[in-house]
């Protein structure tokens, strides 16, 4: 944490506030971080304590995995299945890390600390920057703002939910699907029909098996829909294509 803050403090705050890197980072950081309210709510509703909810936001720090895990706990499912689902979802961060490490160019302790901040949003904002300097600023800003908002709002949501008896009255059961939709939407919109087919099949497999398999397992089985990606031509994704095709629509290479 300290090292990130030092890097951040090294840059002149006033001039940086005007840079697009910081503006994007602040906007996304605040908006997504505030969604921690929904996570705190969902976690406590699932039976976690506020301390456990905040622990997940602080250390697991990857929204989709967190929601998937508490979703399984809420359904009374097997903890191992919940953990496996969270890890499978978290595996996309491995891919992000592969790209980010080239762009950020950090080593040792700095890299180990930065790894904690590798999520959808930090990756999207960082890889959208034109050069390494603004990529580093974007990464640190998004990580710091989103991270602190995410944790603080998780606590807020968790404490509030402990005092509220009927969570459904606030429509919070619609928040989980809405967040997953928000994460999935750019790929449904920007990639080809095959991506949509994978999504449809994944949803179909999960729905068909939900009544007969333990909670958490249907979502794991849905991963098999990803096998469709192995067939046919390389996916058509906008942007420059190297020899093996791009990693994904929004993960375009940044000058490094």
């Amino acid at each position: 944490m300290t090292r990130t803050r030092l890097t951040w403090a090294n840059v002149s705050i006033l001039s940086q506030l005007r840079s697009p890197a910081v503006r994007d980072s602040l906007g996304i950081g605040v908006a997504v971080g505030a969604a921690g309210l929904a996570f705190g709510t969902a976690a406590v509703a699932a039976g976690l304590s506020p301390a456990q909810s905040v622990f997940l936001s602080l250390f697991m720090f990857t929204g989709a995995s967190q929601f998937a895990l508490v979703g399984v706990i809420a359904g009374g499912g097997n903890l191992a299945a919940g953990a496996l689902g969270a890890l499978l979802l978290g595996a996309r961060n491995t891919l992000y890390g592969l790209r980010l490490t080239e762009v950020l160019g950090w080593r040792g302790a700095k890299r180990a600390l930065a790894a904690h901040g590798v999520i959808d949003e930090t990756t999207a904002v960082t890889l959208a920057q034109p050069d390494r300097e603004s990529a580093r600023i974007a990464f640190v800003t998004t990580y710091a703002v989103l991270g602190s908002f995410w944790v603080a709002f998780t606590l807020l949501g968790a404490l509030a939910t402990e005092r509220v008896s009927d969570i459904d009255a606030f429509g919070l059961d619609a928040v989980g699907p809405a967040i997953f939709l928000g994460l999935l939407w750019p790929r449904l919109r920007d990639e080809g029909g095959r991506t949509r087919l994978i999504a449809l099949l994944g949803a179909g497999v999960a729905l068909a098996t939900t009544p007969i398999l333990p909670p958490g397992v249907p979502v794991l089985l849905a991963a098999s829909a990803g096998l469709i990606a192995l067939f046919g031509p390389e996916p058509r994704v906008p942007g420059p294509v190297d020899g093996n095709g791009p990693v994904s629509g929004r993960n375009e290479e940044v000058g490094s």
Partner: protein, 104 residues
């Protein structure tokens, strides 16, 4: 206690997955089959999560909840209109809450 252990283990695993990417040799990404599958998996998982959470019923049963589905519809509409993430989430919750207040 079991729950705490599961939470700590999963959090540690999620961190290691992130770190593995940051520290892994570049050539891992050069395997086209691994890469295609790894890119596709989140699409399948997120779609599955949307479907299962939207249609969650009592126990393992699926159920149609009009207010909740309207909330999901509001989220789709907000996304089509390219609304910011927070607006998408608030639109979903507000729509569902409003319909429930109206007795749906």
């Amino acid at each position: 206690m079991t729950l705490w252990i599961a939470l700590i283990a999963t959090a540690a695993g999620c961190y290691l997955l992130k770190y593995a990417g940051m520290a892994a040799p570049r050539r891992l990404l050069d395997n086209p089959w691994l890469r295609r599958f790894a890119i596709a998996v989140p699409v399948a998982l997120l779609a599955a999560l949307i479907a299962v959470e939207a249609l969650r019923g009592e126990g393992q049963a699926l159920a149609w909840d009009t207010a909740r589905m309207a909330g999901v519809g509001a989220a789709v509409l907000a996304l089509v209109l390219r609304a910011p993430f927070l607006v998408v989430v608030v639109a979903a919750a507000a729509t569902t809450a409003a319909l429930r207040a109206l007795g749906l």
